[in-house]
Amino acid sequence: MTSARPWLLSAPALVIFAVMLLTPLVMTAVLSFNSFDFYGGIKPTFGFQNYADVLSDSYFYEIFLRTFLIALATTVIAALIGTPQAYFLLRMHPFWRSLMILVVLGPLLISVVVRTLGWAILLGNNGVINDALRSIGLIERPLKMMYTSGGIVLALVHVMVPFMILAVWAALQRQDPATEKAAESLGARPATVFRRIVLPQAMPGILSGSLIVFSLSASAFATPAILGGRRVKVVSTTVYDEFLNTLNWPLGAAIAVILLVSVLAIMVAWNKLVEKRFAGVFE
């Protein structure tokens, strides 16, 4: 009797997972093995044709490479910004800290579409930034920021930094503040204390933060769709086009599955690597 209780209690969550997550995932996976032609539509056959198509076409390689580079750049920049900021948050006066956490979480309170359109206004050829630079005479021709990977990274970092800060902050809160004093008493300068003592102890947070940021960035849709458009395609916008423009659902499903599997593989490998390197911090 008692052994059934945990299952019973987690049943609502399990049902939601099964219906909302597992079912569409399995259906997408099944769909990716079907075939498609322009006159007959989707055929319930079974084969690896779609995967072979994707993996043999340099067009898709380019899109995958771009997607992962954008996700990687976003993760690195978010970590570079988020880690010091989390450290400052930790050392702030409690009043300012709660205020600053609100500021950090601010971007998450605004719809991603609205936020990205805001970036479009800023980054456009006749956008606020280019207009300002031109009117003070720094540039003559507008800097191209819309429809570039750089623009996408910029907007993604803005969305993702809060996740990084919260993850690192949680890790830093677990560290014993006396370790910093101990290092100082042993002769370490503030920069050394940060690099040798604080940073390694923040590693679990940086790891979990970068896992979140990387996977969200690699599968982000709204930001690359608005700021990249048709010219700078990433995997998720490609999947969208296959489903809704070409109507080749099986090919779209295959691309989606490849994205899922490769992101998973990258995350597991990264996790292993960091845990091995910083064995002492992970309990």
């Binding site: 560290q175 014993d176 006396a178 370790t179 004093k181 101990a182 290092a183 100082e184 008493s185 042993l186 002769g187 370490a188 300068r189 050394t192 040798r196 003592i197 390694p200 102890q201 590693m203 910083f278 064995a279 002492g280 911090v281 309990e283």
Partner: protein
């Protein structure tokens, strides 16, 4: 020669005075304890010596140098923190070597000194472990080794044993004393545990409300407390309110209710005083020889000792008897208490602080 000198050291946090004109000097090689209840300013004092807090007034001199302008990292002190504060991502060897690395000691010498210090704390066999793989007592030793390896002029211990269980704490006390003497390092211990302070130190500085109330050897502080606070904080004590009735050449006569007590010679000529009497100096005796009679209200067996609470006309009196295997009075029995006049301590009544 005094190696550490604190002169009128003061620390204010806003309106509150945490440390109030604290003066103390520590000789080379000496083991001194700052003892007091929590909030007495002992930890703040240590933080100021370490350089983590800036004094509001007074001076700290270490080996003749004024520490005021010297940052914590350049003071060269060895500090053992209450939480040990080991670096969790470094092995024992890396933890101990960190201070040497900061001092740019060449690798070969570093290795030698790490090995020697780990040997001193009996941890050579665990040098490759991470802190989380070790017990509390072992972590404590690592923390000690890390502080000692830099050969500090002064070792600061911040409640180093408070996170250990009772049995281990006793073992570590002996161990700490051995290591301190072997290393010959001048040591300042901060603790609220009176038995720890008495067991370890050459000298105890008792603090109360940010002030130094007594500075003495453990024996003197216990045996000749300067006020009621010290006598009740160091060990168990019976505090009895009394009046000085007359002072003679060979003693003082005290009046306590309708009882007359004889005490040792004392400066106060008259007025209210506080008598302190240690429970282990009181004996049970026959009816005629007793100073005061009472009824046993409680009897607690402590293994090597018996602790009695006796209800007398002087109030509740604690009596401590060594367990010598004899039959001891039961609860409810009437007993007669006696003590030698010289064991009474006559203290000034503390004015309300």
């Amino acid at each position: 020669m005094a190696i550490l000198e604190l002169r009128d050291l003061t620390k204010r946090f806003g309106e509150t005075v945490a440390v109030d004109r604290f003066t103390l000097s520590v000789e080379k090689g000496e083991f001194v304890s700052l003892l007091g209840p929590s909030g007495c300013g002992k930890t703040t004092t240590l933080q100021m010596i370490a350089g983590f807090e800036t004094p509001s007034g007074g001076a700290i001199h270490l080996n003749g140098r004024d520490l005021a302008k010297i940052p914590a990292r350049s003071r060269g002190l060895g500090i053992v923190f209450q939480t040990y504060a080991l670096f969790p991502h470094m092995t024992v060897e890396e933890n101990v070597g960190f201070g040497l690395e900061m001092r740019k000691v060449p690798a070969a010498e570093r290795k030698k000194r790490i090995a020697a210090t780990l040997d001193l704390v009996h941890l050579s066999h665990l040098s490759g472990r991470y802190p989380r793989q070790m017990s509390g007592g072992q972590r404590q030793r690592v923390a000690l080794a890390r502080a000692l390896v830099i050969e500090p002029e002064l070792l600061l211990l911040d409640e180093p044993l408070s996170n250990l269980d009772a049995k281990l704490r006793e073992e570590m006390q002996l161990e700490l004393r051995r290591i301190q003497q072997e290393a010959g390092v001048t040591t300042l211990l901060v603790t609220h545990d009176q038995s720890e302070a008495m067991a370890l130190s050459d000298r105890i500085a008792v603090m109360q409300g940010g002030r130094l109330v007594q500075e003495a050897t453990p024996f003197d502080a216990y045996d000749r407390p300067t006020n009621g606070f010290v006598s009740s904080f160091l060990g168990k004590s019976n505090a009895i309110d009394a009046h000085v009735e007359s002072v003679g050449a060979d003693g003082t006569v005290l009046r306590c209710g309708d009882l007359r007590l004889n005490g040792p010679a004392h400066g106060e000529a008259a007025g209210p005083v506080l008598i302190s009497l240690r429970p282990e100096r009181i004996e049970f005796c026959g009816e005629g020889d007793g100073v005061v009679a009472g009824r046993v209200t409680e009897r607690i067996f402590l293994g090597d000792q018996w602790l009695f609470k006796v209800d007398t006309s002087l109030g509740e009196i604690l009596v401590m008897r060594r367990n010598s295997g004899r039959r001891e009075p039961d609860v409810g029995e009437t007993v007669h208490l006696a003590w030698q006049a010289e064991h009474l301590r006559i203290l000034a009544v503390e004015t309300a602080a």
